[in-house]
């Protein structure tokens, strides 16, 4: 679960995004909607503790992010938050399996090869585990990125525009995979997207206005 209360993020004097209140429970799947430039990615980064809010309070998995020291927040993020960035961006210098092992290592967790293999099997890329990310197709890379995001069984799984470059069939498959993996991990899923195809596939939605004013629940 997570809860945002009275959140504002400013860049200088300019308001980037504001969220008066938003609470999501464990196991729920949310769409974070809004037009381009509405601050969807910023909200994901706020929940992940990648950037601090200018004002307001963020609680994720019962931890107030303001209470975490910077170094502690990094490790906490590795264990608690899974992030599927828009460009996926797997680490190209290492293999598919090592991308997942790296996520375990950076979160300060023990290496768990069984978990890595099981996940890659679950997302149907186990046969590619020794390949470099550059050898994968876009769809394969996306599945690996999802597996990397859930390898540490996060409390919150955040995906930024996961269907942006996919056709209908692959978009539906990607969302289904995200939901299944979030469910398996018991995580709260938030999918930031302005893709109209996503809305019917997720039961909850939170919509940001275009002008970064006060948000309105859908």
């Amino acid at each position: 679960m997570f809860e945002l209360a009275g959140i504002e993020k400013r860049h200088g004097a300019a308001l980037a995004v504001a969220v008066a209140s938003w609470r999501a429970e464990s196991g729920e799947a949310w769409l974070l909607a809004g037009p381009s430039g509405s601050g969807k990615s910023t909200v994901l980064h706020l929940i992940a503790g990648l950037t601090p809010p200018t004002a307001g309070r963020i609680v994720v998995a019962n931890r107030d992010l303001a209470s975490l020291a910077p170094g502690e927040r990094d490790r906490w993020r590795g264990r608690t938050v899974g992030l599927v960035p828009q460009r996926l961006h797997l680490i190209g210098a290492v293999s598919v399996a090592d991308n997942l092992r790296l996520a375990q290592r950076l979160a300060g967790l023990e290496r768990d090869d069984a978990r890595v293999v099981a996940l890659l099997e679950a997302v149907q890329v186990a046969d590619l585990m020794h390949r470099r990310p550059g050898e994968l197709s876009q769809g394969q890379a996306q599945r690996v990125a999802i597996a990397r995001a859930v390898v540490n069984r996060p409390a919150v799984l955040l995906a930024d525009e996961p269907t942006a470059s996919l056709d209908d069939e692959h978009a539906a498959a990607a969302l289904e995979l995200l939901r299944a993996q979030a469910l398996e991990a018991g995580a709260t899923l938030v999918v930031a997207s302005h893709d109209a195809r996503v809305r019917p596939l997720l039961p909850h939605a939170f919509v940001l206005p275009a002008h970064a004013a006060a948000p309105r629940p859908a």
């Binding site: 990615s41 910023t42 980064h45 992940a48 990648l50 950037t51 910077p70 170094g71 990094d74 490790r75 993020r77 590795g78 264990r79 992030l83 960035p85 828009q86 460009r87 961006h89 680490i91 190209g92 210098a93 290492v94 090592d98 092992r101 790296l102 996520a103 290592r105 950076l106 979160a107 300060g108 990397r148």
Partner: protein, 426 residues
């Protein structure tokens, strides 16, 4: 997958710049290693060859030339001195030992030294085969001479004029090898020892009669200048058949009876005779000042190469930092702390610097071994290879310091990365 593993993976991903950095660092470290090993081996060799010899006494001329010719056997002697100088020196209270040297001929590039059996003892040499010479035209050869010529007791040879190969042969006077010395690692390994009388006999026969008798030392008229071309360096003229007192020597090696003699004996020799006394220790130090300039230049060149490698490493890391900004942001999103990113960049830089340093040490020692094996005159170098010393440890430390320095700024930039902004850039 560890952070060090990630650093290696990044280095492998840029093979060209990785190879360039490692090669440049290796070249610099190899040259530094070469200069260190060569200078240490030279110092060891020079000190070893001069051990036990406090003074070289010879004809007026350059003291350094005296030492080079008499102690290291690499230069022509400045001239001759009367044989009577030997007795005069032995009578000095500060002299514990004096060994005559009569130079001028060689065989297959090895110098024939007319002397006394005690010279072998001065170098701590013992007989490996045969016996010590006890009559003219008998020769005892050093270990290098025996190995290079294949001679054993019973072999015969004729000397050639001059101290280098190619002189005219004294074919009418044959030496007989009567003994072979055990290896000492000192200059005596490369010498052919024979009684002083052998040298006199060879050149008496060669020059014929009619020479003027040499006056007794320390008469200023006593010394004879050697020929400028170094052939028959100062022993084949003015030598008459007759008493030893009328004969000549090339120089005399002297050992002090006590350290006090160092203060008085050279002055006494230089002021009261036509002879020159040269201190091997002093002249060797002077020689090293000259060598040192060349070695220092090589060291500066090596430092420039290592510096260039560090600069190249810096450029490569700075460029890599720009290319990997999104990677670094993702690593932070996955839980990496700023210090983890610093570690990855430092480890990558250090791995390349260490690779260059280790390769450089290996190349440097391989070069030392090769030079020692290919050049007979540099044979002592071969034994100096593959024995890393404190100097190499300093070179490696400097190379690693260069690696750390090169990574400092990129690592600092990485630690200050704005993760959210970088991810938002996409």
């Amino acid at each position: 997958m560890t952070l060090a593993g990630l650093a290696f993976a990044y280095a492998r991903r840029r093979p060209l710049s990785t190879v360039l950095v490692v090669a440049l660092a290796a070249l610099g470290v190899a040259i530094a290693t070469l200069t260190l090993v060569v200078s240490a081996a030279l110092e060891r060799r020079l000190a070893s060859d001069a051990r036990g010899i406090d003074l070289v006494v010879g004809a007026k001329g350059s003291p350094l030339q005296l030492v080079l010719a008499g102690v290291y056997h690499v230069d022509v002697p400045p001239g001759n001195i009367p044989h009577a100088s030997l007795a005069w020196l032995r009578a000095r209270p500060g002299v514990a030992g004096a060994w005559p040297l009569a130079l001028g001929d060689s065989v297959r590039g090895f110098r024939i030294v007319g002397t006394e059996p005690a010279l072998a003892e001065l170098y701590g040499a013992s007989l490996a085969a045969g016996a010590m010479f006890d009559a003219p035209m008998q020769a005892v050869i050093g270990d290098d001479v025996a190995r290079m010529t294949g001679w054993a007791p019973g072999a015969a040879f004729a000397g050639t004029h001059g101290l280098a190969e190619g002189g005219g042969e004294h074919g009418e006077n044959a030496y007989t090898v009567v003994g072979v010395l055990a290896p000492t690692g000192r200059v005596v390994d490369r010498l052919v020892l024979t009684p002083v009388e052998s040298v006199w006999d060879v050149h008496e026969h060669h020059a014929g009669a009619g020479r003027a008798a040499s006056p007794a030392p320390p008469d200023a008229q006593a010394t004879r200048r050697s020929s400028a071309d170094g052939v028959h360096d100062g022993h084949d003229r003015d030598e008459n058949a007759g008493d030893d007192a009328d004969r000549e020597l090339t120089m005399i090696l002297v050992r002090y009876a006590s350290p006090l003699a160092a203060a008085s004996l050279p002055r006494e020799i230089n002021e009261s005779s036509a002879l020159v006394a040269a201190s091997p220790a002093f002249e060797t130090a002077r020689l090293f000042t000259v060598f040192g300039v060349g070695l220092d230049l090589l060291r500066v060149f090596a430092a420039v190469l290592v510096g260039a490698a560090a600069l190249l490493l810096f450029v490569a890391l700075a460029q890599a930092l720009e290319e990997r900004r999104y990677d670094l942001a993702i690593l932070r999103a996955l839980g990496a702390r700023p210090r983890d990113l610093v570690f990855v960049l430092l480890a990558e830089s250090l791995a390349l610097a260490a690779g260059g340093a280790v390769l450089g040490i290996v190349l440097g020692h391989a070069a030392v071994a090769s030079i020692g094996a290919w050049l007979p005159a540099a044979a002592p170098l071969a034994g100096a290879a593959w024995r890393p010393g404190a100097g190499e440890a300093v070179v490696v430390a400097l190379a690693l310091a260069g690696g750390i320095l090169a990574a400092c700024w990129p690592a600092w930039r990485a630690s200050r990365l704005d993760v959210a902004a970088t991810l938002a850039e996409g």
